[in-house]
């Protein structure tokens, strides 16, 4: 019962969130009064048409952009009150990122890319390497750790990106169209891997996607349209 109660705790609480962009003198509203919670251990998919504000929402709750109004509490921290430097530290400790275009550093080998976020921790050189190798082992890329990104397929690069995202054991994993640049087989592999991270390791995942097949893997589905959340908290009907 205790475990169940703990799992029901909110890991993310978003309250009355507004965001707009400024293009010269033009103000373009993107998000309106967004309020919802994400439970720890959840796998949430954010869906919506282009320009609906889903990537903006993901950026806000991952601490890489700032809201105009409202609050975002992740764990016990209201990240809207943090300075840029504090946000950088917070991201390093609490967020793992998976992007559509993998976003690996091209001059670093796979293992070095995975090791990169660990340079902001107090781990020793040996410990960093062990952690990075373990993360690559988890995504099945032990044999590719000394390869540069350009020597890997799209699917493999995305697996390296996942290893980099989980190597610091973050509070939440955010994924922006993680299968958007992959073929169908690779996309399925990546989604299966993310599903395992959620079910077997209890990772909280927030994923932005256009792809209904990707959304199918999530436990909760949220729709955004023109900056508004258009559904209530509900189980994924897909």
């Amino acid at each position: 019962m205790n475990i169940m109660a703990e799992q029901k705790q909110n890991i993310v609480e978003i309250r009355h969130l507004y965001k707009s962009y400024h293009r010269g003198s033009l103000v373009v509203p993107v998000l309106y009064d967004i309020t919802f919670d994400i439970v720890a251990g959840e796998f949430l998919a954010l869906m919506g048409p282009s320009g609906s504000g889903k990537t903006t929402l993901l950026n806000l709750l991952a601490g890489i952009d700032k809201a105009d109004e409202g609050s975002i509490r992740v764990g016990d921290m209201d990240i809207t009150t943090l300075s840029e430097t504090e946000l950088a530290h917070w991201r390093a400790n609490h967020v793992g990122f998976i992007f559509q275009f993998y976003n690996l550093i091209p001059v670093l080998k796979a293992v070095e890319n995975v090791e990169l976020p660990l340079h902001l921790t107090s781990l020793s050189k040996r410990e960093r390497r062990e952690h990075a190798e373990m993360a690559l082992h988890m995504v099945g890329l032990d044999h590719r750790m000394d390869h540069y990104p350009q020597e890997l397929s799209g699917g493999e690069q995305q697996r390296v990106a996942i290893a980099r995202a989980i190597v610091t054991d973050p509070t939440i994993l955010v994924a922006d169209e993680p299968t958007g640049d992959l073929d169908r087989v690779s996309a399925e592999e990546i989604l299966a891997m993310m599903e395992r991270l959620n079910t077997e390791m209890g990772k909280t995942i927030i994923m932005v996607t256009h792809d209904p097949r990707a959304a199918q893997r999530a436990k909760i589905l949220r729709h955004l349209d023109k900056g508004y959340l258009t559904d209530d908290d509900s189980q994924n009907p897909l």
Binding site: D65, A92, P117, H119
Partner: protein
């Protein structure tokens, strides 16, 4: 450590662009080094001048002479150790393009005043004994293939006629800054000949060289010499050898300034080229920097990456340019030995090269760094794909 790894790998990631930029910097540093060496060579005579030597000349102009009779009067002034004298001869060897400095001097005292001209005792004895003898610097003798005992004829320009000499000694410089391209012969040889062909020009000297007993007496001795000949028909101007040489340099001050300006223009041009390279590089890597910021790296890390890459490129170019400067300076010095007898790349020039490279690297990185730091992470990430 990882930042350093990324920095170095980034610097050579685009091999063609980095290679061409490094080549450009190397050529600029080479040009800068050579131009600075030309300027140093211009001042080599000033640098080599002794503080315990004075030069006395006619107060009106160097082209006017002084009576030989001043020699004894100067020698009697307190603080004077040795007095020598001489004239600029201005002779031409075979053809006018074969320029080298040639003087007639009182040989015994002149060699005493200039201990940096090193002659073997036998050669010195032979030179002093032969009124038609001359000594030449090692580089000059080597250039024309002269050997001891060889006869050499100079065509006089100030003192008309063909003047025959016999090589009695080849002097070596005591150190690198000694000019080894000069030609000295007996003042008496000139004077005796002039007495026959143009008596009014006889017993006249172009300059007196004075060695003082102590360098701190130089000013007093100079004043005393000039005071001695005040209100005479040929008033004197006495100054240290350094000031005298500097006076010559001042005549060509505009050329030196022009060379200095060109050397700095070269640096400014290459700075613009490196800045352009860094701007392109940073624009390409804006996504990488956004990723690093996303992962938690700060502005300081990004600054280190961009400044570091710029400095690695500029210092690699600088090192290449510095290495190339030595053979280039040797070839340049050899080709223009008549004009720049001492053409040595100085330590100061090498320091200036490094300073210029650091300046290029840092200034070229300022604007790209500012752009990379100021761009929002979300904007940076949008540029990927």
């Amino acid at each position: 450590m990882m930042i350093l790894k990324i920095l170095f790998r980034n610097a050579f990631h685009n091999k063609l662009r980095s290679g061409l930029t490094i080549l450009g910097i190397a050529v600029a540093i080479l040009a800068f080094g050579l131009l600075r060496t030309v300027i140093s060579s211009w001042y080599a005579g000033v640098e080599a001048a002794s503080t315990s030597r004075l030069v006395t000349r006619n107060a009106i102009s160097i082209i006017f002479t002084l009576p030989l009779s001043y020699n004894e009067k100067i020698r009697q002034i307190e603080g004077v150790k040795i007095v020598s004298y001489g004239n600029w001869f201005g002779g031409v060897y075979i053809d006018e393009k074969n320029f080298f400095p040639n003087f007639c001097v009182e040989p015994r005292t002149y060699l005493e005043i200039y201990p940096e001209f090193v002659l073997s005792p036998a050669e010195k004895k032979a030179f002093l004994a032969d009124r038609k003898g001359f000594v030449a610097g090692r580089k000059l003798a080597a250039k024309y293939g002269w050997k001891i005992g060889d006869g050499v004829t100079l065509k006089g320009t100030i003192y008309p006629g063909n003047w025959d000499f016999v090589l009695r000694g080849i002097y070596k410089g005591r150190d690198d800054t000694t000019d080894e391209t000069q030609f000295y012969f007996h003042w008496d040889y000139l004077n005796e000949t002039i007495k026959k062909v143009s008596p009014p020009r006889a017993d006249q000297v172009g300059f007196y060289m004075i060695a003082v007993t102590r360098p701190d007496l130089s000013a007093d001795v100079a004043l005393a010499v000039d005071k001695t000949f005040k209100n005479s028909l040929a008033e004197t101007l006495t100054e240290t050898e350094k000031a005298f040489n500097q006076g010559f340099i001042a005549m060509s001050g505009a050329i030196v300034t022009a060379i200095q300006m060109v050397s700095f223009v070269v640096i400014i041009i290459i700075m613009a080229v490196v800045a352009n390279t860094m701007a392109m590089t940073t624009r390409e890597r804006i996504g990488d920097y956004a990723i690093m910021k996303t992962l938690g790296f700060g502005g300081r890390d990004i600054t280190v990456l961009i400044f570091g890459e710029s400095l690695v490129i500029s210092l690699t170019g600088c090192l290449t340019g510095m290495i190339l400067t030595f053979p280039a300076a040797a070839a340049f010095g050899q080709a223009l030995a008549n004009f720049f007898p001492i053409f040595i790349v100085s330590t100061e020039t090498l320091y200036l090269d490094i300073l210029a490279a650091i300046l290029i690297g840092c200034l070229a990185a300022i604007i790209p760094t500012r752009q990379a730091i100021r761009i929002g992470i979300a904007d940076g990430l949008r540029r990927i794909g």
